[in-house]
């Protein structure tokens, strides 16, 4: 932004870089070397995102293979053994190799920029966290060819993503597939905890002058909450994977039911991780909505303190709901009642958030560009996902539908309908900042509408076979069950979503070379990342910015009516 159109109040001026952006000059090999050894939070963030998008395609292909297998009754597209591996790897990939890295990627990229810092608190820890996570992903996928080898019996893990024990014990899972799974999740967990520590230290210790906690944009706030949850939720996963490895390698008996070990304890330990994990994935999606919805509604976020309070509330409540995954295991009626009520309690802070987003849109001059379209899709779908969540939290209802396709439909409604939609919104919103070029708007609209149609075909319809009694993770089904037509619609929707993703991939590549120049602030936004170049220089801001309100760029563009006068 060489010549801003509005006069700049004296102290924000430092945030604007007057030097022209410089391109990295060097040979191809030097560029690769530069990316491998980088400790720059922006490059690491982009590597996280690219890594996650790559695995999104891999996990998506696995989903398509599952859907092809289930297209017809008594189908034999893949063998039952391959089918088990497919849904195990699909779940593990989407949660650990897509969801976590893409959210950490955006966090890495955006948190320092939004709080006016030049990098994360610990740049080298940041690089370590990324590379160990990348190593974990490669190790997990090496299981396809490693272990007992291409000619051997053991290939990819086949114990489902929650790996109920004792099926993962040496006696029931010979070979090395489960070892790859457990070790990959331990390595990935170390990376996640490293990044979480880094984000917390960045948010609390690296804010620019004037940015008190309550002047911080909501995205860093939510990432701080997510990081706190990662610390207390991923650690139990690491601990129970370590127990599994002790069982498998040292002959321990943690989950060895023959020697008194408990299968139920594994379920508790896993879901103590597993349920907060859902909120770890969804809070960053909320964070994107908190930034995108106000900018495209041309209004400041409604109820900022309530949003912060609701976020912290969700983070706390989510730690006390895990056993709603275990109603059918058989708990006491006190246990059932407790976890039903605590689960329903989550609806209160999430409801506050939904109403605040609606109130933000209300009366605004809404611009229906692609990021906003995805955000509106997210809002609607998240409400539906929440409603089926309330239904499933009621333990008698849960006994009826547990492990059915109704549950699969519910959590995919959250994971795809809310999280993936907001990730797409975030990609369209911040791609110009990351690359300096706009994504093609026309392709973006195609992507949105195809994704929306495909999503609703698949996941609305998926509730029906669940109610009709179709269990999850089954390899095939009999023709006379009446599930065939529903499965065909579900699979059809899956293929439409695949086309939508293909358009996104084309758009990402095409726009990188041919896209319209974005300039520093294409959306007329208000947070600090839009004050610097697109893409930002390695040092982010030539002079440390000083802020006086939650929307420093609004103050800069509207010195006659700054937020700082009202907050």
């Amino acid at each position: 932004m060489a010549t801003p159109s509005v006069p700049i109040p004296n102290r924000v001026e430092g945030a604007i870089d007057q030097t022209p952006p410089q391109r990295f000059a060097g040979t191809y090999l030097e560029k690769v070397h530069d990316w491998v050894v980088t400790v720059d939070h922006k490059k690491i963030g982009i590597m996280y995102i690219c890594y996650a998008l790559l695995f999104l395609l891999v996990g998506g292909v696995e989903a398509l293979m599952i859907r092809t297998q289930l297209f017809f009754p008594n189908n034999h597209f893949v063998s039952p053994f391959v089918f088990d591996r497919l849904f195990t790897m699909h779940g593990t990939t989407m949660v650990f190799l897509v969801g976590m890295p893409i959210l950490f990627g955006f966090g890495n990229y955006l948190v320092p920029l939004m709080i006016g810092a030049r990098d994360m608190a610990f740049p080298r820890l940041n690089a370590f966290s990324f590379w160990i996570s990348a190593f974990a992903g490669l190790m997990l996928y090496f299981s396809f060819i490693g272990g007992n080898g291409l000619a051997g019996t053991g290939t990819a893990p086949d114990i489902a993503w929650f790996a109920y024990q004792p099926l993962g014990e040496r006696a029931f899972s010979p070979g090395h597939s489960t070892d790859y799974w457990a070790l990959a999740l331990i390595a990935n967990g170390i990376g996640s905890i490293g990044t979480a520590i880094n984000i917390l230290a960045t948010v609390f210790c690296m804010r620019c002058k004037g940015m008190t906690l309550f002047r911080m944009p909501l995205l860093p706030w939510l990432y701080a909450a997510v990081s706190g949850m990662v610390l207390v939720a991923i650690s139990p996963l690491t601990a129970c994977q370590a127990m599994l490895v002790i069982d498998r390698y040292l002959g321990g008996h943690f989950f060895d039911t023959q020697a008194g070990g408990s299968a139920i304890l594994w379920a508790h330990f896993f879901w103590i991780f597993g349920h907060p994990e859902v909120y770890i994935l969804v809070l960053p999606a909320f964070a994107f909505a908190n930034e995108i919805i106000p900018v495209f509604s041309r209004k400041a976020i409604f109820g900022y303190p309530a949003m912060v309070a609701a976020t912290v509330g969700i983070a706390f409540i989510s730690l006390g709901v895990w056993a709603h995954h275990m109603f059918t295991i058989g708990m006491t009626s006190f246990g059932n009642a407790f976890f039903t009520l605590s689960t329903m309690l989550v609806a209160i802070p999430t409801g506050i958030k939904v109403f605040n987003w609606l109130a933000t849109i209300w009366g605004g001059r809404v611009r229906f560009e692609t990021p906003m379209l995805f955000s509106i899709g997210f809002l609607f779908q998240f409400v539906v996902a929440g409603l089926t969540g309330i239904m499933l939290s009621v333990s008698p209802w849960n006994w009826q539908l547990h492990n059915s396709y109704f549950v699969v439909a519910h959590f995919h409604y959250v994971l795809v309908g809310a999280i993936v939609f907001m990730i797409f919104a975030a990609i369209y919103y911040w791609y110009p900042k990351m690359t300096g070029r706009m994504l093609d708007e026309k392709l973006g609209k195609w992507h949105f509408w195809l994704m929306l149609i495909g999503f609703h075909l698949t996941f609305d319809v998926m509730h029906v076979p669940g109610v009709l009694g179709m269990p999850r993770q089954i390899y095939t089904y009999e023709a006379d069950r009446g599930w065939a037509v529903w499965n065909q619609i579900i699979s059809l929707g899956g293929f439409i979503q695949a086309i939508a993703i293909a358009i996104l991939v084309y758009n990402l590549v095409h726009s990188y070379f041919k896209g319209k120049e974005a300039g520093p602030d294409p959306w007329d936004a208000w947070t600090l990342e839009w004050a610097t170049h697109s893409p930002p220089p390695a040092y982010n801001f030539p002079v440390d910015p000083v802020v006086a309100s939650r929307r420093p760029l609004w103050d800069m563009k509207h010195p006659e009516d700054p937020d700082s006068a009202f907050e």
Binding site: P9, N10, R11, V12, A121, F122, I193, A196, I197, N198, L200, A201, T202, F204, C205, M206, R207, K209, G210, S227, G228, L231, V232, A233, I234, S235, P236, T238, A239, C240, A242, M243, I246, D247, L250, G251, G252, H253, F254, A259, G260, G261, S262, L265, F269, I272, V546, V547, A548, P559, E560, D561, P562, S564, A565
Partner: protein, 204 residues
């Protein structure tokens, strides 16, 4: 009122006193975060230990083989006091006292580790209790071993710091980093209070 006039009346003071802009030390925040994460890991192992108490299908049981390691415990817990003295010393620039108290901390930690080693040796050779013997063996070696591995890491870092101090590469300007490291050592000691209570008092 025109825009220009309003701009003049609106206070554009971005911060009252920029020189008072203080943020917490990132070392403390990061180490505290790590401690929260580690506490969660220890909690899971402690829960497993308590849950599996008395569920063994074969012996030996804790009461048959475990002795309460009082000397070890006194050594480890008192090391927290000596590392506090060391922190205090480097905070006031007294490097001689710092080296002394730091070395005492290291030695006490080492005694604890050797004590654990002796205990394990007796258990394995004399009592034939290994990690694969029964549930008690599995949970005992995992929990105590998890703590011992933290002691090992702590001792390594104490040793590196000691070597840097003895070679003169460490001075009073590093006192904050030393205090962050000491925070980890305090955590290792505090966890031992829990492990000691669970394994040797409640579980025996």
């Amino acid at each position: 009122m025109s825009t220009q006039e309003r701009a003049g009346t609106v206070p554009l003071e971005y911060i009252e006193h920029p020189e008072q802009w203080h943020l917490p030390s990132r070392g403390y925040v990061a180490m505290s975060s790590l401690i929260v994460a580690e506490s969660a890991i220890f909690t899971i192992f402690v829960v497993a230990y308590l849950y599996y108490l008395g569920r063994d299908v074969s012996g030996p049981t804790p009461r048959q083989v475990l002795d309460v390691p009082i000397f070890n415990t006194v050594c480890l817990l008192s090391s927290s006091f000596f590392i506090y003295l060391a922190e205090h010393a480097i905070g006031h620039g007294r490097m001689g006292a710092f080296k002394l108290w730091w070395a005492v901390t290291f030695v006490l930690g080492l005694i604890f580790l050797i004590g654990t080693g002796v205990e394990w040796h007796t258990l394995i050779v004399h009592d034939h209790l290994t990690i694969a013997t029964n549930l008690f063996g599995t949970t005992f070696y995992s929990l105590v071993g998890l703590h011992a591995s933290h002691v090992v890491i702590g001792l390594l870092m104490l040793l590196i710091t000691l070597i840097l101090a003895l070679t003169g590469k460490l001075n009073a300007t590093h006192s904050e980093r030393v205090k962050v490291l000491a925070l980890y050592w305090h955590f290792v000691d505090a966890v031992w209070v829990v492990v000691f209570t669970v394994v040797y008092l409640v579980g025996r």
